[in-house]
Point group: C2
Chain length 410, copies 2
């Protein structure tokens, strides 16, 4: 059998373990030298590939240098936000496959979220249309955890661990002074509240901070929020609240669009602040109480300091599984996770395969039954779901400068 | 000799290792059972003490439970921001010493920054005035690193490590897309740029990101800043900039005051927020380029995930040293660090003692010769100074929930 080459790309926003998935793909490919020749990477996804930008992993990360991928956040190959044309008759498709052919590609892997699965869908359908035997596999990735047909997505566990641990640390920070205070934590998630919900994992006992959690799955009401904060302040001097960046009222208006209290800049442009800043000002002015807000921002998706060992191992597993599936002839599928409960009550994930056409351009939100009726918290069912995903610490190797030995493209 | 009791308090903003200093004090005190009876803690500093709020460490953290302090950020005892009356004739002083006498206190330790050293100064002077033999010792603490007469302060190393590692991570995140971008990182430091300067430690090679670093020690000029950003964009598609929250123009106006609303805290300090957001908007509107800003916020002072082992060990050492000094009869002094260079070029710290009256209410800023002439960077001298302080990783024990096993008061 004539050997073919493999190419992998990364797409969409980075996560702490998107490179672990890449590691799984490349390391598994290297174990199949009998069938797989070169292992290539697309630089900056399909967009960079179309511009002729690729790398050879044997040159870029030979031998054990590949291990560095497992602890490097960001996207080693670079990413893009590129949606392929809807019509498979577009000249872009023959162009992509001409390049595939030029590089003797037999297998294409794309690591990403919703939009990336759309690319997998289109390229696998085009391959079928032209009778190409190139196998196209999607590898899931997103801190938002919003892909359907999988228990969860790689990247979510580490981001959830970041949120849970950081919330626990900030609760300590908030408890330092006696003076009553409210701390608003703004967490990523425009339409799905999975990551904000992970704030609940920070609690050490029932009723502990964060005392309130607001997800975009339910409508947010200012007056009800202020009343809830007041109720909490009667029980605890320092109240910590987690909110999704995407919370909105029942008309669908984002809370962050409510006002311009942060002002306009010298050019008259509105300075957009997040919903956290808005709620901080609301609490201060309406309840006359010390308030502050913290926007978790990009560290929740790019910190290696709070990697979940479980998340990392699963990302590697998904990458490896995808390669074996592709070698078996599978195409147009995304690797999924299926939850298995062990006899001792612990859980583990097994890999499955799902049709990308059923996944792309869909969004999985937190189920209504995992949110309390008043919309201010998540239920124990969520805790049982999410807790196993954040387990385990990863020891990140440090260089002589005392900082992580991340790998990057030259 | 009749045994006396020891009491320790914490004051000012929390850090990642303020509890390590406390650990050093309490553990060293326990090694001197022949002279020290009970070891007490003031809850919420001198303010809580005046309200009768104390704890007994043998009950709160008996035996090995004390170890948990070393990895717990925040202030275990709680803190306060209380400035004692200027006049030693104020009735508050006899009240404090009456309570000291009631608890048979022989030694008082206060862990804090400038304002806390002011408390140490006043109480030691009052003790002298009334002929009390109570020994009063200051233990340095601040992420700002702005105390004079010490090489650096406990808390700075871990905060600097947080800044350096987080900047390195965000640089990876910024490099993910090909589209030119500017990322502004706003780091704590109103008057002293030590922590912002630590962003320079994130560089892997000369010219690496962060390409620009602005400290409050030099005047900030908008037009020069925009020109510098433009020059950097010619060399690098993704430019990362570190700015101190306290940067100001040559008239002394804070950049964050250019258009943000600000308040004042209990001490009349201006509450700063938003120079990062302001510069983000400035870059976007003036350079017409993708821009974002990240405010590092409280995690830089309360994250246990990036503890510097060096910082932690030094904080413990300072606590221990202070107890031995107090037992030797020292009073009215702050424990300081003196840098010693070893034969192999590595450095270590030895403890010294400095008169708190020479320390309190003063501020040490980054020396002008450690800032480049154009005010956009720090020199290699700063790197040589700061690099040893962030070395070493601390393994934080995790609980069954997968999160750090912090200790807290019941």
């Amino acid at each position: 059998m004539c050997k073919k080459n493999l190419i992998a790309g990364q797409s969409g926003g980075p996560t702490a373990v998107i490179n672990s998935s890449l590691y799984g793909i490349v390391s598994e490919a290297r174990r199949h030298e009998d069938r797989i020749g070169k292992v290539y990477g697309m630089v900056n996804g399909i967009e960079g590939f179309l511009a002729g930008r690729t790398l050879d992993f044997d040159e870029a990360l030979p031998g054990d240098a590949l291990e560095g991928l497992k602890i490097t956040p960001g996207a080693y190959l670079g990413s893009c936000r590129c949606k392929l044309p809807e019509s498979l008759d577009d000249p872009m498709y023959p162009e992509i496959f001409r390049r595939f052919e030029e590089m003797n590609i037999g297998w294409f892997f794309y690591v990403g979220g919703n939009d990336s699965m759309d690319t997998v869908s289109k390229l696998s359908r085009y391959a079928e249309k032209i009778g190409s035997d190139i196998r196209v596999i999607g590898e899931p990735k997103t801190i938002d955890n919003d892909l359907v047909l999988t228990d969860h997505t790689p990247g979510y566990g580490s981001a959830a661990r970041y949120v849970a641990q950081t919330v626990r640390e900030i609760v300590l920070d908030a408890n330092v002074y006696e003076k009553p205070s409210v701390t608003i934590l703004e967490i990523m998630g425009r339409h799905a509240g999975w990551l904000t919900a992970a704030g609940a994992l920070a609690r050490k006992y029932k009723g502990d901070n964060p005392m309130l959690i607001y997800l975009p799955e339910t409508a947010f009401d200012e007056e009800a929020f202020l009343q809830s904060v007041k109720n909490c302040l009667e029980k605890n001097c320092n109240v910590v609240v987690c909110v999704s960046e995407g919370i909105h009222d029942k008309e669908g208006t984002f809370i962050c669009e409510y006002d311009s209290s942060v002002g306009t800049d010298n050019f008259g442009h509105k300075m957009l602040a997040g919903c956290g800043k808005y709620l901080e000002n609301l609490v201060r002015s309406r309840l006359n109480i010390k308030a502050r807000s913290v926007e978790f921002n990009v560290s929740q998706r790019c910190s290696a300091a709070m990697l979940s060992a479980t998340d990392q191992a699963e990302a590697v597993m998904a990458g490896e599984f995808g390669v074996r599936a592709a070698l078996d002839g599978v195409t147009g599928r995304m690797v999924s996770f299926v939850r298995k409960e062990d006899a001792d009550g612990s859980v583990h994930m097994e890999c499955g395969l799902e049709d990308v056409n059923d996944i792309c351009n869909k969004e999985k939100t937190v189920p209504a039954e995992w949110i309390t009726a008043d919309g201010t918290d998540v239920t124990d069912d969520f805790i049982r779901y999410a807790a196993p995903l954040i387990q385990g610490v990863v020891t990140v190797p440090m260089g002589e400068d005392g900082l992580p030995l991340f790998v990057s493209r030259k």
